[in-house]
Amino acid sequence: MKGETFLHILLLTLIMVSDLFSRFVVGSSSPPLLGIAPQDEKYYQASSDGIKCRDGSGKFSKAQLNDDFCDCLDGTDEPGICSILFVAVLAFELWLLHEDDGSLKGTSACPNGRFYCRNAGHIPLVLYSSRVNDGICDCCDGSDEYDGQVKCSNTCWEAGKAARDKLTKRISTFQEGVAMRKHEIERAKLAIAKDEKELSKLKNEERVLKGLVQRLKERKELIEIAEEKERSQKEKEEQDRKEAEQKATEEKSKSAKDIDPETKEHEVDEGGETKEDFDNDIVGLLDDPVGTAEGDGDAYSLPEIQEAAAVSSDVVHDADENAASDQANEQGDVPVKPEELSKEELGRLVASRWTGEKVDEEIKQDSSEETHKEDDKREDVLDEDLYEDDDDGYVSDSVDDNKKYEYRDPEDEIREDLFADDNGDSTSHHTNYSDSDSDDEPDWEDIIVEMIWSWLEKTMIMARRFLRAFNLFQRPFDKSEAASVRKEYDESSSKLSKIQSRISALSEKLKHDFGPEKVFYSFHGRCLESKQNKYVYKVCPYKEASQKEDYSTTRLGQWEKFDESYRVMVFSGGDRCWNGPDRSLKVKLRCSLTDELTDVDEPSRCEYMALLSTPAACTDDRLKELQDKLDAMNKNEPQSHDEL
């Protein structure tokens, strides 16, 4: 708003100046009007016709200039100390040529007028005319109160010094911050390049692996057909044998039973299901024989497996909770017979209409809470019963949604899945990542790529071997070979699905808006926390924001976008408020040398605000603005104060 006002006035100035020169011939010799900037004087020179209001709303005589009576709706006739011009730096400098004799004072007569305080020693100020002679000292030089009702002391020097000191400090922060930001941009460039490189390699690899998997699959199917044939042969033989036996037995006893057809069907079913799992679901990794595929199978420790399993059941569970809590919400409107409630329950219930507090759980202790328990499943998951009892998890409509709310970045998980033994946990990823320009540490991105290739090579060699071996298509085939093909197929297809996940994660990541020069790249996959009173606020850019209290978590929103020229991060669509909107959060960015989340507030119900201090917000433009401001302030220092 202030900025807009400034621009508006500046614009007016320019229009006015050009207007002036086009209308009046320079060179008048009449004495200057005090308090009016030279290029503006002409405007105020009365002709026989009077002076026109700039907005054309009327005209006024010279005597009516600043006579405490509003003749022009736009305040042309009550211009303060040439309020309009003096905002412009140019005009300001011209003003310095004039003496302030106090005789030209803007008035409060025009509501749309502006008053300019010179504030020597501090920054000049443009006031609404409503502040003139209103008994309150608005200008540090006191110039807005000249009617003698109040006496304002000149505090510009002190205030100006404090302001200059503050500004100087701020500028030095900015200077350092701008450097950090540049650094960050460089790192982001490199990191993105690496991501892109990895992505393209992974895509190549995916292509290769796809072919391989396809061939292995065909091979496997051939083997299976062969096996099937062999088995049915055997079965037939077996049956024949059994029949023979049975006949023999029947002769002895009458209690034998035929169970074979069922068994057969069962086996077929199982086989089909397994195949599906492998094709579609990372959960299929469960079946990956541990320790057979060059160690990468080690990545899947038991808890993770169970967690992965829990995720899918979780979805159903959450939807369930969702419906339950919906119902609880609606119960507020369902007629409740007061006779059935205690006095206190009734009181709470009625109060809740205004407050929206959930009274059901307070009363009945059995209704689900609106807030969500922390999604820390690692322990709970192991105990399924416990998990069932908890009002855990996030409300979500689909599996996809659910993934979004997982605490860990899917990308990280895949990285871990693939390379857990080499790269440790996710935190160290971030550390490594953010320090990737350091020469001491290995560049893990390169390692990944190398590893993939070495593994791929091995796989290819193996596969080739198998494929060659089966070319002969002998019958009966080598059983150990068949097992190897199967295993190889399983491994390869699971690798493929992992690579595909990684590709999609990387592509998703690279699709994000990382701001000008990708300066916000490093915020991806990171979270910042801030503790305020009993709440811990957690903001994960490009992902989500939440508020935690003890064991419950409220989602404040999912990542939506940047706003206001990358000065604000917007998270929206968080948990719904009773009788209100979905929660949302706006994070304002502020230049600072460290990344820090502070000042979380809820100015309007369920609409949160927070401040994120970060070097990424230290832009050159802002720095220049501040420097200009300081320059202006310094120029404006009155000489008389120098010795103070």
Partner: protein
Amino acid sequence: MNPRLRFSLVLFLSLALSPAPSLSWKEEEFRNCNQTPFCERARSRTPGSSRLIASKVSLSDGSLVASLVDRDDSSGNPLSLTLTSYQDGVLRLVVDEDPSFDPPRRRFRVPDVVLPEFESSKKLWLQRIAEERIGDDVELSVVVYLNEDYEAVLRRDPFEVFVRERSSKDRVLGLNSHGMFDFEQLRGKKEEGQEWEERFRGNTDSRPHGPQSISFDVSFYGADFVYGIPERAMSLALRPTRGPGIEFSEPYRLFNLDVFEYLHESPFGLYGSIPFMLSHGKGRGSVGFFWLNAAEMQIDVLGEGWDAYNDGKIVLPSSLKRIDTFWMSEAGIVDAFFFVGPGPKDVVRQYTSVTGLPAMPQFFATAYHQCRWNYRDEQDVAEVDAKFDEHDIPYDVLWLDIEHTDGKKYFTWDKVLFPTPAEMQRKLAAEGRHMVTIVDPHIKRDDRYYIHKEATRNGYYVKDASGKDYNGWCWPGSSSYLDMVNPEIRSWWGDKFSLQSYSGSTPSLYIWNDMNEPSVFNGPEVSMPRDAIHCGSVEHREVHNAYGYYFHMATSDGLLKRGDGQDRPFVLSRAMFAGSQRYGAVWTGDNTADWDHLRVSVPMLLTLGLTGMSFSGADVGGYFGNPDPKLLVRWYQLGAYYPFFRGHAHQDTKRREPWLFGERNTELMREAIRVRYSLLPYFYTLFREANTTGVPVLRPLWMEFPSDEVAFDKDDSFMVGNSLLVHGVFNEHAKHVSVYLPGKQSWFDLRTGTPYPGGTTQKLEVSESSIPAFQKAGTIVQRKDRFRRSTAQMVNDPYTLVIALNSSKEAEGELYVDDGKTFDFLSGGFIHRRFVYKEGTLSSYNVAPTASGNARFNTKCEIERIILLGPAGQPKNALVRPGNLKTEVEYGPLQLFGTGSSNVLTIRKPGVRISEDWTIQLS
């Protein structure tokens, strides 16, 4: 259970149990007439069923007294009747049980509502009674003097009391003209098989004294419409509730309740009750009837032909058009006042002579108030305050709702959110701004809370039927309620507002009383049980409607004490009763952010004004829900003319301070608020008029145009004083509005100065920048056209006079000014001028009575601009006397802000002071 199965089950259940619409939920929470035994009984009475006759008529202590006895059954106790005349055409009728027959207990008479000075010095001591035969009555009727034009008649058999014009003998107002009077006398014990208890929704009312209701009919003769009996969200003119074609309507209920999300069109009673009804008719003018009774009341307005089944026993003068009404109350006595009018302003004056004049507010309180549930903390307060300045929007008061307290303990502060409340108030005060905090009557039952400790120790709480401190549920949880009916407790309460006692308070802090119906979340109908006990064994049922009134009174008296009687209190109350106007402002409670609620705010406030509550407003923007920006802007444009102008919002709503909806909307709301600030001198003059005459700031058109029939039921427009007519815009897509401009004189558009003829309906184009508003020809309105942060900075600003000339080129207006704060105005410390424009000359006269006290008020304020609208001719110069100074007459803007302003004749800087006599002659 299998999660999938569970999911489907829950889904199924939630569908099966899907909630009924919330409306029905509310409806069943409150009693209707059929669920209210006294109402049901009374409503079944038929005309002529009363068997009472008046006997033993005599004069006693200057009043007429009589006994009411059963015509056929002499075994019952007679009732005592007292009829008293008061100055200015007020007749009072009291009917109670006769104490000489030893009734089981004394019935409740509402104390502290009728002004002591009314009772002591306005009474006319009757010297003689005249007798006269009415029609073919067997018994003679008794005629009593009322004033020069009116007399009262007590008809013995059938018993009837009416007021008539002395000259024509035409009745104007009658009680029991239809013979439906009934008075259930208290009995010592229950009769065989009789059940006294009442049950409603799990609450049992022990009703230890049995049925004790009173009902009677009141007829308004010569009436086209009846009005009054707030508070409800309904049309200004009261529609019939019984009669042919009206099958299922409820009577108008007067029972103070905290109604959650009230409907915009319902006869149901809301937070306040004022049992005062006025009528108006073209031929007759206005009369009024007030029943001073604080128990639950139900009132039927009877539609034409309602008594058609009557067998002809009741013979009423058929030449007169009339409106019959039927009044029912659960308890108490008949203490009824008849006001003869004959003009609408006369009735209001007569009513306020009984119940008191509206308090004179401080100047700041007449400006714009900014409220929200809740401004979160001191930083929030500072930011909101700063934003008003940043956007150059004036405001005067910032409000804090319940969350500012420490655990809903009033007089305390949340230490985390409001660590330095006094400093916060001082910062606001430095800008001339004030703060208001909420103080409700429910007291948290917390042994560490000093108020609770003292109240418990002193026995200051209302008791339940068993005699223990009544324990109800409200914001703080378990709460008790102070018994404000007791003057001692009120006095104790008042002391809690002293700066010493109320820690963190400063002299710029004022108070808001909410929830004082009282609202009890777990009580019957969200209020207190009727068998709860107040001091003097008074049952809550007898005093219910006045509970909030006493609380408001106690708070107001507390602020008065705080300022040593020098500082005018400001207390906003939600509950109200007859007389609440003496203690401060009221608002229409928890309205909703929709167009219907914007619309209904006009009749609601007009009705409040008619019944004494001049200083009233509705929450601008609507309390519940989120107003569309268009609605919010329209609400500010209308709210700027509410006597009490406050923006407020529920805590679940989005922020809606005027700068949050884009530049254009900010501008529109700023302009709306500026309209109010500009007109504050006019408003303040009107507040003073209300303070001296009872005539409200906001007036129905018929109050100013009593013989313009078209205006009688208009409630989409209203008058502000006698000069301005305002018409709301109540539709989002409205392109045009039809505005009826009453009377014979022209009207000038407030913004453009365009004249429109009176007595016409104008279809006007609606602009987004204002709602239609007009100045009546023949009036002078004062403005201050400098816009400041708050009223405090306007004190020395010059005035603008807008003169709207009528067809005879004349106009007049008044200006009242005082220090805006103290009670000096009571002893002469004010300026009261009359401006008269006649024959081309504007003159300023002093109309303040001389020798009204020692205090003096003066101001150097000048008039900076005089605007002439209408047939002023083409004057070039103005001669100012004294001084014989010439000043220019030119064309200038009518308004200094907004768009659409036109050039109007302007006397520029006449340089005259408003405190002095002068003339300005145009030539």
